[in-house]
Symmetry: D3
Subunit: 287 residues, 6 copies
């Protein structure tokens, strides 16, 4: 923080952010929080400050989080190996219990506490609260246990929280019809919640620069993608591997009416603010 | 449920509950939920039905829960022994993490899910959400670790939830000034929350009949106690053992303005409804 | 009232009513009150309790009443014979004055007073208040005097009363264009008011079990009738006599958007509650 | 109405009323309506127009009415003699029934209808509606039957009516603790209701010019009286006979916080408007 | 003001205005104020009283004013000649500055002050406030300088003022896209504002009787004109000269949804009231 | 604006402003705008940006302005010399007219237009609108003409404007009891308005660094002054000359309940933001 700036220069920075702030005031922005930005303490603190700042300038910010590493850690503690099927965690009943506990009880409430310490007003929710997320068993070639597919998003509780001035922080477990609970992919949940809220923006925080034309060269970042070009980019192999599901989330969000979806690099401090409050933005934007 | 009643008799029962319902409409009732009623599935379902019914007839119901057995179970799973000091769980950092996870992530959200399945509208909170409970380390003759003493109750989030039609379900972990988290006794938390909400009633669900003049004889139940008589009853040994802290909670709640505090027997199905909707009530009432 | 039930059994009855209550909360139910249930003191008291209970559990209840016997009694007192033409009271100017006085001044306000004594909040209205009912002279083969046909229902005053928490009790006299007042059939008025309020249910209290396949045998009750079957049932003579106008009211109400219309037996205590809060209901339902 | 005025003159009259209108906008004025102004059709129509005009210019107007002649007429019709004790109608049970019917069912609803015909929005109430007036038996040297003394005024229903834009028209029958109904003096009821509403003005319409120093000479009108001078005026015999109870109503109203109380001559068309909208006013004002 | 009327006659006048008042309560009336009525002190005071009276009886009144003579006077003071092109003031930059100052700073605020002195609640606006009027340079055969043509009316600030109980008084200068300011014809601005507000009436105060069939004979006033007849009347020369733009404003207002547009004679005191509150009205009405 | 900063650095600046923003959100800040900052176009634009930014982050900002140079310029244009008595402009009737026109019509509306161009929502008011400022003739040893002393501040119109989302911009002319208009010192008006609004801060923009211990040396700035020390500082000559009235305004504001009053240097771009959003602030603060 050895930023040597005069007060006048600081004021100029604030004023230059003004047109961006005006543009987003009263709009909803859903941030999917994950990756390094959730582990590194300094990045974490930067994300939380960004949330509070966004709320202060009138943005309705909603945080959706994952928590893979914490879940794996807890499973290990009780002597259970994490097992993955096609990149998805196989979730038996005992694992589901741990997933729920870790996400809704630990990761979520720790974020709530951190936001409160930054003088934000936070409310920790999971997909069960107010019936926010309903799901059924995901059907796949190989059984995944309690991995769920969203059947309904009921955003009333999120809107209630926003209207009362809280930043909603959401764990993505969902309720089934018979009282069972499902583990939901956080990117997908964020995309669906953003769509139901009529959000202006969905921001997925990742550990990569964005969509690169050449995966080895960060200078080949593609800053803007029309969602109709995504199939072609997949065929060309530019979108590949772990990027495929993330970008499909972006496409789905945009198709369901979200203004813009972004894949940004959570390893850069304040990447969300940079995205919102500068001209060039950061990462890759889908529209 | 082999209750053989004609429809006219059923209607009579409803009508006879009328004057009690009228009396509580628009009033706040805080229920501390614990003991057998949280373990036995049938009792659990009865409690949840009671909550939904109470809300439907216009009562603002708030549920505060404990979760000792679930915490002990989880600690055991990770190979950690529960340790108690003067009846309070010694809570080191690792234990506190488990306490938070189990209460706010497991017990709380399971209750939320159950209430939603009964067509209620539930919101699971812990003391961190919206800064509901703030605490500091409890000073005792022997160190208790992260066992906390409430320093401040900020009931805004509970009132917000009620005003939006949710039944708030509260886990009693609290935030400290430096971001640490404390384990709070649920009876005490319920008493303090009831006081801050200006509740009409505090109901502590226990595994006993109420205050007995002769502990061995359930026929010696004392139905009504003036809080000013409590010191004498303690001296006489009628209030003793595990009853002492529970009754002190009742006294504190009444002293801080709660209309009535009740110790009721959670082993009786629908004991809350019986307390609210019959003349004689159930258990022991403090005023 | 020698109903011998334990408190737990009583609680069970309340809980079993729960799903029915949830279903009607926030819905409007219009009850046409008449017949024996208005004469027998015990039945009267049961009806009033039912009203208060319905309001307490969130139902918007509206009571529309007749008063034939009281009108005839008063006419007799002033030495005037009641005269009926095709089942309708011939209403000369002096009779109309008595009708208005008895309905709006006596029957209506007595019901208001009774409801208030049961701790309800009642407001007595007639069709003149706030221009609720407007009418013109009913044209018939034989002159009926001031018997009117509804030309307009202006439900604003009823909605205002509901929104302020009152149970509206309505006498069915209506205003004409030149300030004259008309006598309106209460069943028809109830059907029209229910339609204008967008009511979920219209309930007509009568002195019969419902629609019977064989008028002599109460065991032949037809519990459910599709309104499109009514013409056939009339042709078959199953609907006949005094049932014809009552059932036509039900049909009209359903045609104008009321969810369900019911003919129930007002001689059974709490027949309204039984209809609302049990599975099988009571009487005949038109949909 | 052969009032020959140019349009400019008419406009001047409106403008000259302006400062008076401004003074009363948003204020409550309670008018006790009775005497000739209730019998003569032209005076009646003038009073109703005045009410509608007052409401249009933002005055919250409340009408309280009597109905002695109509009651006597109806009693005669059923062959019952009116009997008076010290100027008060002896009210046996049958009489009370007639009083209630005539006031709440006939006089009240006729006024409602008339106001609606003048494009006003009227709601007819009696003291039973919403528990507006509660009373107990008046104790007097000679038994008066169901003549009541007000024990409580609960003005909520009047305020609700005003807030929804209705002109409340009130019949002065009141409910007793056991469901019996009492006949209440309308002047007293008006004074008490005015006090409970925090009215700016109470206006009693009478058949006299006001308080005269010499009863035989209308030129000796006393336009303004300080309520503290009333005892002296009574001793001097200037206040005497039927004036005593009326003026005591004025005194009580002022003592309970009503700004001004007026005795005006209802035989003069538009006497209420003249009182409100001219400098010199009309009749006698008590402050 | 030597108007010799009894109080009863005054009351009759008020009552006779009643049906007109009822008709306009809650409606918006836009008055273009100009001509002699703005110069003669007595007429000015009459107009202001009319405004206050209209507001008191529930009319949402909006005043749009010109100020040609004041502008010319000020220009003269600084030694600048007024120059007119086709009846429009040629407005160079210096003139525009004077126009803005005189209208928004002098004429407008003087009217505000006058209305406040008459106990009205006034708010002086110009087209710049809240972006009320946006304009661009008017293109004409001969350059007019900063004479503008309205491109957008944003009535939010006027509605805000009305909702808070103020009478908005509007100067017709408008903002351009680059911060320049334009001089706008007040008749046109009034018509456009009336249209955007969904006004019931537009009233243009002029110095003529209305549209005359024979300009020399005031007895040939045409009281009512259908806007579709205007082209014919123009062809016939009945509408000619300075009347053409005024009447085109009326036509435009009606075409854009204003209920009625009126040209009235501002030289008659209280001409607005006469128009609103008498049967025959005054001047010429376009519908 | 050649500010070379990385996006991350820009984000850091925003985040560092966060605790200051949080502190002021929902608070009222009154800025007295004057001096060089009103003349230099770049400074002007910076002030306006600051206003818009402050509003966006939830501050209720109110701008009070002077306009001495513009008044003098206009007076000169009409050939009238400005005359000052003890530092106050002698204001004859003609001058008063110019003062009102220039302030309320020119300076005020130009600021409104500028704010609108910066996407702010502005409403230009003067002390006459809604009766905001009432004044009487200031009594001084030498006659000052229409220089006024505030007798009453009625802040309702300012609160209305804030509640509807406008930035109120206020010219300090005030109305007298007889319709005359007074010229009011803008510093004093700002202090009084701040007090009536219960403002958190009053900021006076000047052309000096703040209060200097040695007027010749800007390094001797006194950053913080307790208002109780002001008399001593005056006696010591540290407060002298033109500073005396400005500092007395600060003292009066603080005495009347404004949290803090500041004298800041309007010649520094964004001095208001620097004051609000940095630790050390700028200029001299009075508390």
């Amino acid at each position: 923080m050895a930023l040597e700036l005069s007060n006048t220069e600081r004021a100029q920075v604030l004023v230059q952010a003004l047109p961006y702030i005006q543009q987003y005031a009263g709009q909803t922005v859903v941030v999917k929080y994950g990756g390094n930005a959730m582990i590194n303490e300094q990045l974490k603190s930067a994300v939380i400050s960004d949330m509070v700042l966004m709320q202060l300038v009138g943005i309705h910010v909603v945080l959706v989080h994952g928590g893979g590493p914490e879940i794996s850690g807890m499973l290990k503690k009780i002597g259970k190996e994490s097992r993955f099927v096609n990149g998805m965690r196989y979730t038996d009943e005992e694992t589901m219990e741990i997933v729920q506990m870790v996400l809704a009880g630990k990761v979520n409430k720790d974020l709530v506490q951190l936001l409160q310490l930054h003088s934000g007003k936070a409310l920790g929710l999971c997909g069960l609260d107010g019936g926010l997320l309903r799901a059924e068993k995901m059907l796949a070639s190989e059984d995944l246990g309690y991995v769920g597919e969203i059947t309904e998003v009921c955003p009333e509780i999120v809107n209630d929280a926003i209207s009362k001035g809280y930043i909603p922080i959401i764990s993505t477990v969902a309720g089934g019809a018979k009282g069972e609970v499902y583990n939901i992919n956080a990117d997908i949940a964020a995309a669906r919640i953003a769509a139901e809220l009529g959000a202006r923006k969905l921001i997925l925080m990742t550990d990569i620069r964005g969509l690169l034309r050449d995966k080895e060269d960060e200078n080949t970042l593609i800053p803007v993608v029309n969602v109709s070009d995504v199939p072609r980019l997949e065929r060309e192999g530019i979108i590949s591997g772990g990027m495929i599901p993330k970008i499909r989330c972006c496409v789905e969000a945009v198709r369901r009416g979200v203004g813009r979806a972004h894949i940004i690099d959570g390893r850069i401090p304040h990447s969300i603010l940079i995205e919102l409050f500068t001209d060039e933005g950061i990462g890759t934007m889908f529209y």
